[in-house]
Amino acid sequence: MAAPIAVHLEFGGGAELLFNGVKEHHVTLPSQSEPWDMKQLLVWIQRNLLKERPELFVQGDSVRPGILVLINDADWELMNQNACACLTAAGLDCSVGLKPAH
């Protein structure tokens, strides 16, 4: 059982237009049996935070091409893209930033 995780989400560069213009979100991911990973986080975001035009944000399992993801201010390409590197540690605040590259 994974404990609930506090995550600080930041949307910028135009991505916030899909979230009613709100750039910063402090959310708590509910506890669940498997550890959280990015794929699940994206699904969670799409279900709970995304206000319009899901196809502009999510494509299949991942973000739409052109959107950059930073995990704790580091490029998510540095880690296996769906790894749970930072999210599995219970109770760790981690900051996930999503912004489209122009």
Partner: protein
């Protein structure tokens, strides 16, 4: 034997799951923060160094900007142009190693009227940008796009370009500059508050009418680009700047390259995507950000807090197939995710493009496109693709004129009045005449417009002037001496 397989699998897994503690490939000590290109991991400080160095190297390699020159930075507020602004600031600061040596000014064109933003949104964005510009200390101008309606027709005339300085002139200019100015750093001048020009509602309406007369989003975007360029060049000329810096980044230019080919701008590719663009004669546009991918810029801006604003454009939040530009953008970005060298490959290809110089070096006005001011590419040669297009156009036109069916609009010409085929002669000739003044892709843009009457006055009056000159030239053509008449001078 069987062990080999297992080892191999193990290695694969290791390569597949790199951890955050990957080291920077440059300094090999600090932990990596960003992946550039395909697989180079850099730490924060090495990335910053790399980023700043690239800007200097780009300006230094192409010795186009002379010391002490006045350069106008076109800042749209988006990440690339704001990054360019911060690089210029960085380069001009006293502590910079080998600091840059030119005097910058900033211009921002507020396109909210054409994009459909409300007055409050425009005001908010403009005041945000004003604060950013003030903090830099450079002189700045914020203009509404509506001002393009009041431009003089000199904008689309090609001014005589200054003679190309020889390569050695750059070094000489640098030496001279070093001797005279020594270490004078001009402190940012306190300029009096130039109040932002008020935008009249009627002007905004005219602009919206103009944008609305373009039926497709592709044509609208192309038109917006053209108008913006004209306003930028005009501003540079009136304010005394000799160079214009545009903030197009590598990704944008790769998309622009492919889009231009789709729009029929193949002949102007070198000027549209190259480092320097001299089509306007006395104003040379340079693109110093063309080596930076969008990802690098986004990361730099985020990591080092470069202020930028979100600028809504015509194709924000539109679907993928809304316009050619949008479609190409989604194509390139999708390809880039799977093949990270896509953008740089396209970029390297574009670097090799050069404009073939036509024989006429005297830039006669009738040799240039009315809208994009590039050399006309519509000389109809025998058996060229262009000739084939014209022939099929003519064929489809005569066919529908014969049918007299209002439903079947002629293949190429859409004259906006869906009456019988015979009744649209006058507008057809007008549109046709405008066509003879345009390059191929601008012709396509005009064709997508329901009426050319909404074009700003300066374009229409310049069009009339050129048509009159062309008529005149036709009338006296048989009296003109051309190059073929050398017989007269052969007599010894």
């Amino acid at each position: 034997m069987c062990q080999v397989d297992e080892e191999y699998q193990e290695e694969l897994e290791r390569a597949d799951g790199p951890s955050v503690s990957k080291k920077c490939v440059k300094c090999k000590e600090a932990s990596a923060a960003v992946v550039i290109r395909a697989g180079d991991t850099y730490c924060r400080s090495c990335f910053k160094e790399y980023f700043i160095h690239k800007f200097r190297a780009m300006l230094g390699k192409n010795r186009v900007i002379f010391p002490g020159e006045k350069v106008l930075l076109a800042v749209s507020g988006g990440p690339s142009s704001c990054s360019m602004l911060s690089q210029v600031q960085e380069g001009l600061s006293q502590k910079a190693h080998k600091k840059l040596r030119f005097s910058p000014g900033i211009v921002h064109i507020d396109e909210g009227g054409a994009v459909g933003q409300s007055a409050e949104e425009r005001q908010r964005k403009v005041s945000e940008l004003q604060a950013v510009f003030k903090a830099t200390g450079f002189p700045f101008l914020i203009l509404p796009l509506e001002q393009v309606l009041d431009l003089p027709s000199s904008v689309v005339e090609t001014a005589l370009s200054p003679l190309e300085p020889p390569p050695s002139a750059y070094k000489a200019a640098v030496d001279r500059f070093n001797q005279t100015s020594s270490s004078d750093y001009l402190p940012p001048q306190e300029r009096e508050e130039k109040s932002l020009p008020d935008v009249q509602k009627s002007h905004t309406q005219l602009l919206q009418q103009l944008m609305g007369s373009a039926k497709t989003l592709t044509a609208r975007e192309d038109l917006l680009n053209t108008l913006r360029q004209h306003l930028l060049v005009h501003t540079a000329r009136t304010e005394g700047y000799s160079k214009l810096m545009l903030g197009d980044n590598c990704t944008r230019l790769a998309i622009k390259l492919l889009t231009s080919i789709s729009l029929g701008r193949g002949a102007q590719l070198a000027q549209d995507t190259g480092f320097s663009d001299s089509r306007y004669g006395n104003i040379i546009s340079v693109r110093p950000m063309r080596d930076y991918s969008a990802k690098e810029i986004a990361f730099y801006n985020h990591m080092f807090n470069v202020p930028a604003v979100v600028v809504a454009s015509l194709d924000t939040k539109t679907s993928e197939k809304a316009s050619i530009q949008r479609l190409t953008e989604s194509f390139v970005t999708k390809l880039q995710t799977d093949f990270p060298s896509t953008v740089s490959t396209i970029y390297r290809t574009s670097e090799k493009l050069q404009t073939a110089c036509r024989s006429s070096s005297s830039a006669d006005h009738s040799d240039r496109c009315l809208l994009c001011v590039c050399t006309l590419d519509t000389a109809v040669e025998k058996a060229s693709a262009f000739q084939a297009t014209l022939i099929s156009e003519q064929l489809s036109q005569t066919k529908s004129l014969g049918c007299r069916n209002p439903g079947q609009s002629p293949g190429g010409e859409d004259c906006g009045r869906a009456t019988s085929g015979g009744g649209c002669c006058s507008l057809t000739t007008e549109t046709t005449d405008l066509k003879s003044l345009l390059c191929y892709s601008c012709q396509l843009t005009i064709r997508d417009m329901s009426s050319v009457d909404h074009l700003p006055l300066y374009i229409l009056s310049e069009a009339q002037r050129r048509q009159r000159r062309a008529q005149m030239r036709d009338e006296i053509s048989e009296f003109l001496l051309d190059d073929g008449d050398e017989g007269i001078y052969r007599e010894v």
